[in-house]
Amino acid sequence: MSRSNDSVLVLLIALVLAILLALLPLPVFLEPLRPYWVGLVLIYWSMEVPRALPLGAAFLIGLLLDVLTASLMGLHALSLLVLVYLVRRFRPRIRFFPPWQQALAVLALLVNDRIIMLWSMIILGEPVPTWQHWLSPLVGMALWPWIFLGLDHARLASRQSERN
């Protein structure tokens, strides 16, 4: 069977779940800790899947997220564009890092993403997030290995079931 077709369904399901998790109501004190679910899924997608996620798709997913969360139109689009671009750019290196180093790379990506968001908000005169929102990348890093293993596993399972 063709490998190019593999696991798109799994990834789309993961993406939908990530979007729903982004909308899940949390207690006020947990709100700043919410990891960037969609960002994490797109990092995985760009890093592990041979067929690249087109930048245009990242842009559209970002716009969808902007509409859903009522954030500034284009904010998440910008953030996801940069995320996907950077992962694709450094993919050959990041991919063969040992897991802990890869988690650090993910942290760097997520922190960079925060900086970009903060920067665009300041330029446009939007409200600036509180310091607690810098904790979200740390949560993202802690979750990364599990997301990585989980998605790898799901893709493998779906491929095997297809073969049978």
Partner: protein
Amino acid sequence: MRIDSAVNNPSLAQGRPSTARLMGYLLLAGLLMLLDQRGEFVPRIRAFAEQLVTPVYHVAEAPAEALRGISTYSRSYDTVVEQNEVLREQLLGQQGDMQRLAALQEENRRLRALLDATKGRQVTFRFAELVQVSLDPYSHQVLIDRGADDGVFAGQAVIDGLGVMGQVESVTGGQARVRLISDPEHAIPVQILRTGQRTVALGTGEAERLNLPNLPDQSDVREGDMLVSSGLGERFPAGFPVAEVTRVDRETGEAFMSVDARPLAALDRGLEVLLVQPGQGMTGPDTKSAVAAADPGAELAAESGAGTSVDDSDPAAETASAPMSDAEPQAEALQDPAAELPGEDQ
């Protein structure tokens, strides 16, 4: 729209994405943000897109709804009985208040007639629930489960049991997005209840703080002062509690004081809200002499959701005057008739 053509060109799939394309998309995103921030053009696209994504909210809401359902269902009989008793007591107390209010309204109406002041406008409420999804924490907006189909319109004032919450920003068929008063882009005209002085309360981006930047240095304002909506601007009906002053900072040499206030509404933890329906019965003859105060007790007994009618109404006298509710303190109306004039600045 043309997206990367990895299918047509397999070599692209493995390689680096093109920087030119990135720049193009980045520019587009930047342009969108700029336009959205200025409120040009993009809000219309967003309103349309919101129509399309409404089902997503229903799915996203499901887990929270289920959780709430379980917690309601599993509540013990005793707790429910206890709660019922408390609510009954509360209702009784409030019915008593309402009876007094009817008398006060009548009195207020007569005093206003004596002063030839502006007339109150009828206000009714409609119940709505928050949609249990979490929006961007920086945007200070919430979703409610009533939309254009229920007569909700952009600009409509939203309150909860404690105070003013915000105003409707956009509506779709079955839902509406509400901008809270804590949003940095939001400003609400208020009045200090004790002195009658008018000013504007701006959102700060923090749920627990509003800012009043326009109070001159010599104004009379203290910590603990209650701020009510002044009714200027015609968005929010007058007399609803908005916030309580928490900090007054007089800096010598500054023309304006720095005053902070804490919103009274449960902005970040409420579940139910009330939509303020503006005056009905605006047509019809002048009923100045008619004693038309509805019986509020009977109104209260009506089903929730049907809305409670507060305020007697005089359909006349709406020309360019601020809508004044009778919930406003009467003493002030007596002492300070000048405060009835809209548009003055203090």
